[in-house]
């Protein structure tokens, strides 16, 4: 059973610029234990930059990151991975020439302890270790229902399946914090439903904390416990989905300044009504 707890990751007043372009300016984000946090915002708002800062791909120019009680100026990708932060990418980053199984096994690399001499001879402890990791990976494969493509090179899979393999690889790391960058982009309704179910199940069964970026408002409103809205590198809203949806700043960011909050046409579409139109809007 999951219970949303105290913040596990605090990104405090993060600023990041590429040359003259400001990607993030003094954005503070707290991610609480076991919650599903959605980060939304128009294109170029700095959502992906934020994830990149959290797992160490980008080094912020100002601000600090606190993860598991340790505060630092910046994360490093290796350190993030070793300390339980896993992620997926907007435009699927898989090892295309490798099979689904091998891709997922790479998620176990950091957990393999036997040194390479043992592995070279592949007897005793090394063999047992490899088998234990295989067993774990098979459980993930069952969980995500991808048994059929176990031996298929991922380069040959359809896009929706690749996204699922990418999630499997992230799960193989047994992460405490899972960062998902547009996990449902380019999927059809059925695939989206599956993906939502997996995300909710992971969160529910393992209590994994999840931060995701998503453009489909229907999905965001349905599955997230809390929503953070970024616009031009600034945080403009932070709260439960219902509250964020009616915030005048958010409506202005999505629909433009003229669409005054009082205007009847200015409502962000509600979840039940249309995922598709909203998906395009902020997209």
């Amino acid at each position: 059973m999951r219970r949303i707890g105290e913040p596990v990751l605090i990104a405090d007043r993060i600023s990041l610029a590429f040359g003259g372009i400001v990607a993030l300016s003094e954005v503070s984000i707290a991610i609480r234990r076991s919650e599903i946090l959605a980060i939304i915002g128009p294109n170029g708002a700095g959502k992906t930059s934020m994830l990149n800062v959290i797992n160490g791909f980008y080094h912020p120019h100002a601000g600090s990151i606190t993860w598991k009680g340790v505060t630092r100026r910046r994360m490093r990708p290796y350190e993030a991975a070793a300390q339980g932060i896993a992620r997926t990418f907007q435009n699927v980053a898989l090892f295309k020439g490798m099979t689904t199984l091998d891709n997922i096994m790479t998620g176990r690399l950091l957990r393999m302890r036997r040194n390479f001499l043992w592995q070279a001879v592949y007897v005793g402890p090394a063999e047992r270790e490899e088998l234990a990791h295989r067993a774990h990976v098979e459980r993930i494969i069952d969980f995500l229902e991808i048994e059929a493509i176990r031996k298929t090179p991922v380069g040959r899979l359809p896009y929706g399946m690749q996204k699922r393999v990418e999630l499997a690889r992230a799960l193989a790391m047994e992460p405490e914090l899972l960062l998902l960058d547009e996990p449902m982009a380019g999927m059809n309704v059925e695939e989206k439903e599956d993906m939502c179910r997996f995300i909710l199940d992971v969160n529910d069964e393992f209590g994994t904390t999840i931060a995701l970026i998503e453009h489909d408002m229907g999905v965001v409103m349905d599955i997230s416990d809390r929503v953070i809205v970024l616009d031009y590198g600034r945080k403009i809203a932070d709260g439960p989905p219902g509250e964020v949806r009616t915030s005048p700043d958010v409506i202005a960011a999505y629909l433009g300044e003229e669409a005054a909050p009082h205007s009847p046409t200015a409502r962000v579409p509600s979840s039940s009504r249309n995922a598709r139109s909203a998906g395009r809007g902020p997209g």
Partner: protein
């Protein structure tokens, strides 16, 4: 006459092992960065030059250790100065960078160590040797030097093959070659992997440089021996360690056999181009080589 075939075959295989060794240097780097390392030949030359000049001022074993250390330092420098700023770039960009490294190593090596032809004597006699005299009438004639170097190279190739095939580093290597970003996200230490791979490639270059250097003399043409590795790679596949070994053996044996048995009909000199023609045929029929990864394209 029958045993003459075997003699030629053995001679060819022994040379083949040396080709395999040079090809292996390419394969290692290709596996870890999907980059064809144009500088491999120059690394052989650089390593051999360093060793020869160091041997003038210190005993051989110490010079060998120092030369190995130089190659490792070089690996660190390449990672820091060339690869790190190019993370996440296209493979073709990294390939261009290795061309740059080639020119740098050629120039720097020769201005530092001099550009004369140096002799490198390993103290192994280069006399012909008769084997299996008891078993076969007249025995089999083998060059003793070739035999020893083939044994050394074979040993090195075997160790490397096991190291990269069976350990977790093997899987990590393939991951790094495929996608830098994804590799980082699962916690593969990209920089360490690169340093390891370039160091190993540097050491392989050192061994290849020593062997070829003592055969041909340490001079600029060693850098060109690397060209012989190209057909080997076409045959074996750029991504396969066993492929490099088998490819090397096929090329070595093939060129000697064709020289001896086809030479008289075609006017000789086949040895020089046989490997390239074989590679060309392979490119037409099986572009990924014997053991290379299938080229996957989703349309």
């Amino acid at each position: 006459m029958d045993f003459f075939v075997i003699e030629v075959l053995i001679g060819g295989l022994l040379t083949g092992v040396l080709y395999a060794l040079v090809a292996l240097g390419f394969v290692l780097i290709f596996k870890a960065s999907a980059v064809f390392n144009f500088a491999q030949g120059s690394m052989c030359l650089f390593a051999a030059l360093a060793l020869v000049r160091l041997m003038e001022i210190m005993p051989a074993p110490l010079a060998l250790i120092c030369a190995a250390a130089i190659m490792i330092v070089l690996a660190f420098a390449i990672e820091r100065l060339v690869l790190r700023p190019l993370v996440n770039q296209e493979a073709i960009i990294l390939f261009m960078a290795t061309i740059g490294i080639t020119f740098f190593l050629d120039g720097f090596g020769q201005s530092l160590f001099g550009s004369e032809v140096y002799t490198l004597d390993l103290g192994i006699p280069k006399d012909p040797l008769l084997l299996f005299e008891g078993l076969i009438p007249r025995g089999i004639l083998v060059n003793e030097f070739d035999l020893w170097t083939a044994v050394a190279a074979g040993l090195l190739v075997a160790v490397l093959a096991v190291f990269f095939q069976r350990t977790r580093i093997g899987r990590a290597l393939r991951a790094v070659a495929d996608d830098h970003q994804a590799a980082l996200s699962v916690g593969i230490p990209l920089r360490q992997i690169w340093v390891i791979v370039w160091s190993v490639a540097g050491l392989v270059a050192l061994v290849a440089g020593i062997i070829w250097g003592s055969k041909l003399g340490v001079q600029f043409s060693i850098a060109l021996v690397a060209l012989k590795a190209l057909p080997v790679l076409m045959l074996g596949g750029l991504t396969s360690v066993p492929g490099a070994i088998v490819g090397g053996l096929i090329v070595g044996a093939g060129e000697k056999l064709s020289e001896v048995f086809l030479g008289p009909f075609l006017g000789g000199g086949i040895e020089n181009w046989f490997a390239y023609v074989l590679a060309l045929v392979f490119l037409l029929v099986r572009p990924q080589g014997l053991f290379g990864e299938r080229i996957i394209e989703r349309v």
